[in-house]
């Protein structure tokens, strides 16, 4: 029984950490309509920033400032935000699929920089020994993980609260106006370029936060954590959960990560090992099947966008 609880805690930490990134993407795609295909890159910036700020010092590698966890989280958000500002200034004139191609290329570039800039990132060796604050607070993996889950839950709660506040504000309505019809929004005297950039930077900062939570939990970061598949996973979570709905985004993270991992568990129980070893693609097929069926049944995601009117309007 304790094993199940222990695993569940572990599962929730990872899925909620992904959930944070999904919330960031939701602000960009769900509310503003920005097709960011470089999610993994911004998660990577946050992750490495966390590792550099809080990790132990090493010869021949920059950083290792051993700063507190909270400073690492803030630093990760700032670094991802600065990265996003540059990327946004360069690419946000592009629309839809063009923006997707450009941001995808940037994510691959970021991953390659992580792989080759050894002085900053440790190159292929990665950075080891990144502290997890809960290790100092308690003994035993289950208690430590439960405490870490509490931290992640608090971060998720704060992020959702802040995002809800933002999207219900006039600025949030402007995001949707731009998403639906940029020309109409511009004709009302709004500046779509500026607002798109703001939403992009804010979303990427949240992705950076997710990366920081991930490395601090795992204790290690390497370029292999940020392959393009990660971007695909975060997108799937958003689409399955329901874009333009923060609760949907979070639910999507839980469901998709659940399908991803439970499919492996079920296969290992049901299918004999000799077949599994040969039929490597089975899990991928199962994952794909479940996701496609979900979208056929709920085309707008599990929880779609809620109809929203100004809170000043009388019903």
């Amino acid at each position: 029984m304790i094993g199940v609880v222990s695993y569940l805690v572990f599962f929730l930490i990872l899925s909620l950490t992904f959930g944070v990134a999904v919330l960031g993407l939701n602000l960009q795609w769900g509310f503003t309509g920005l097709f960011n295909a470089g999610v993994a890159g911004f998660i990577a910036i946050g992750a490495y920033t966390m590792a550099i700020l809080t990790g132990p010092s090493r010869d021949a590698v920059f950083g290792g400032f051993e700063l507190p966890f909270v400073v690492g989280l803030a630093g990760a958000m700032i670094a991802s935000g600065i990265g996003a500002l540059f990327v946004g200034l360069a690419t946000l004139k592009l629309r839809h699929e063009y923006l997707a191609v450009a941001t995808f290329g940037i994510a691959v570039t970021i991953q390659l920089v992580c792989l080759n800039w050894e002085y900053l990132t440790g190159g292929t060796l990665g950075l080891i020994g990144i502290p997890n604050p809960t290790k100092a607070w308690a003994e035993g993996p289950l208690i430590q993980n439960s405490l870490y889950l509490a931290i992640v839950a608090i971060v998720v709660g704060l992020t959702i609260a802040a995002l809800e506040l933002i999207v219900k504000s006039p600025w949030g309505r402007m995001l949707k106006a731009i998403r639906e019809d940029e020309v109409a929004a511009a004709s009302l005297g709004k500046s779509p370029e500026r607002v798109r950039l703001e939403a992009f930077v804010l979303g990427c900062m949240i992705m950076g936060l997710s990366g920081a939570l991930y490395v601090s939990f795992i204790g290690y970061v390497s370029p292999w954590d940020f392959l393009p598949i990660l971007t695909f996973q975060i997108w799937t979570m958003l689409i399955v959960g329901g874009s333009a709905n923060n609760r949907g985004a979070l639910l999507g993270a839980l469901i998709v990560w659940g399908v991803w991992t439970m499919s492996g568990f079920v296969l290992s129980r049901v299918v004999p090992s000799e077949i599994q070893a040969r039929g490597g693609a089975m899990q991928a097929v199962l994952i794909g099947l479940i996701l496609v069926v979900t979208l056929l049944i709920r085309p707008r995601g599990l929880i779609g966008e809620e109809l929203q009117v100004s809170r000043h309007a009388r019903s």
Partner: protein
């Protein structure tokens, strides 16, 4: 009083499950986290099958402590998060006490730090080569739960130092490439040579892809060295060697394995390199390796060519032998007994059902054994690393000839002496 005992029993019942395993819980589970799909899928599939093959052979010999072994395979998809989750699920939900895998270091290391060490289970990788594992182990952060059956690069500096000393050189200059590889190797060489009684006249780093290395060579010539240890790659290495010889440096050269290359010999000119010596990795030449190859071919109708096949077989077999030697199958016992079944002074046992049956008999008699497997004799150092056999070579005219062969045991002995 009675209530207290009841409470204690209840607490034990709740917290006992999943944290401790009973002496014999049939079937005995062995977890494997390997990339059977994704970019490493082709490689991972064969490794996974070979792991299963090792389990089958163990079961043919009667399994672990009379129980059949169940091989629980989980796919990492080559992704660290998926691998970490799979490992956690194997440990918490399946109750495995040992994990085989993963293939890439980028997956193995997160698994080690976030699952294996906190949960106190053993992880044995067939294929992860990163130096970060050794660094982590030296900081004490693996707590001994990490092993790999893939040979590391640690022995390079030792081989260089051995060649210098065996040739009777006393004052050695070192020129090395300024990368993590070169810096690490040169620094270890400095320690190793001191231990063996030689001395260093200068340590000079060079940056790659320069037109000339006159400044570096001049600096290295200071102190009148009688030999040069060169850590370089062929293109820059030949520039450095030419300038070294042109400026009057000795032709007593010791070079690292990357310079065992015809490009290098041709660029410098073989006639100037007749006092050159080097080292390289070698294939083990043992009956146990040949017999593994035969059994593999009989089972799969193809020879075991491909990365990780020999090493995963040994990873699985060593873990299962360590389980057999344990009174209770727990991570701690497996960790300790891996040393017992690969003990240098133990009775030698070989792979295959007969070999395993023999090993089990010996263990039942309370003897220590030395498993000599598909990769040869495994001897894990304190960081959980193993060594591969090495050879030394020189040039005879234009021909590259082998001058000596060091078995794994000899390499391990050399390193053991240097690391004391």
């Amino acid at each position: 009083m009675l209530r207290n005992i009841g409470l204690a029993a209840l607490t034990a019942a709740i917290f006992g499950i999943g944290t401790t395993a009973h002496a014999v819980d049939c079937p005995v589970k062995l977890g494997a986290i390997l990339p059977v799909s994704g970019p490493m899928g082709q490689v991972g599939e064969r490794i996974a099958e070979t792991g299963l093959f090792a389990v089958e052979q163990f079961n043919e010999a009667g399994g672990v402590k009379g129980c059949p072994v169940e091989y629980v395979l989980r796919d990492t998809q080559g992704q660290s998060a998926v691998g970490v989750d799979a490992a956690k699920s194997l440990v918490d939900l399946d109750g495995v006490q040992a994990l085989i895998g993963a293939v890439s270091s980028g997956v193995s290391l997160p698994v080690l730090t976030s699952v294996v060490v906190p949960s106190k289970v053993v992880q044995v990788s067939c294929c992860s080569s990163s130096e970060s594992f050794t660094a982590l182990a030296e900081e004490g952060k693996t707590e001994g739960y990490w092993f790999r059956t893939y040979a590391t690069n640690r022995s390079q500096s030792a081989m260089g130092a051995k060649l210098v000393i065996d040739s009777g050189f006393e004052r050695t200059a070192v020129i090395y490439v300024n990368t993590d590889f070169g810096v690490g190797l040169a620094n270890r060489f400095e320690q190793d040579i001191a231990k063996l009684g030689g001395s260093i006249t200068s340590m000079v780093a060079y940056n790659e892809s320069q037109q000339s290395y006159r400044a570096e060579v001049t600096k290295a010539l200071e102190g009148n060295p009688d030999s040069l240890f060169l850590v370089a790659f062929p293109v820059d290495g030949s520039t450095i060697t030419r300038e070294w010889l042109a400026l009057g440096g000795t032709d007593n050269l010791i070079v690292n394995n990357s310079l065992r290359s015809d490009d290098y010999f041709a660029a410098v000119g073989s006639q100037y390199l007749q006092n050159l010596q080097g080292y390289d990795s070698a294939q083990p030449r043992l009956p146990s390796v040949a017999s593994f190859n035969e059994m593999f071919e009989a089972r799969f109708d193809s020879p075991p060519n491909g990365p990780g096949l020999h090493s995963v077989y040994d990873a699985v077999t060593v873990v299962l032998l360590a389980m057999e030697a344990s009174e209770e199958i727990t991570g701690d016992n497996i960790r300790d007994n891996i040393r017992l079944v690969t003990s240098p002074d133990g009775v030698e046992v070989h792979p295959g059902p007969e070999g395993i049956a023999r090993a089990k008999e010996l263990l039942a008699e309370g003897q220590t054994i030395r498993y000599v497997g598909a990769t040869g004799a495994l001897s894990f150092d304190r960081n959980g690393d193993v060594q591969a056999p090495k050879m030394t070579w020189k040039l005879d005219g234009d021909v590259n000839v082998e001058t000596s062969y060091l078995t794994t045991a000899e390499v391990a002995e050399l390193l053991g002496m240097l690391d004391e």
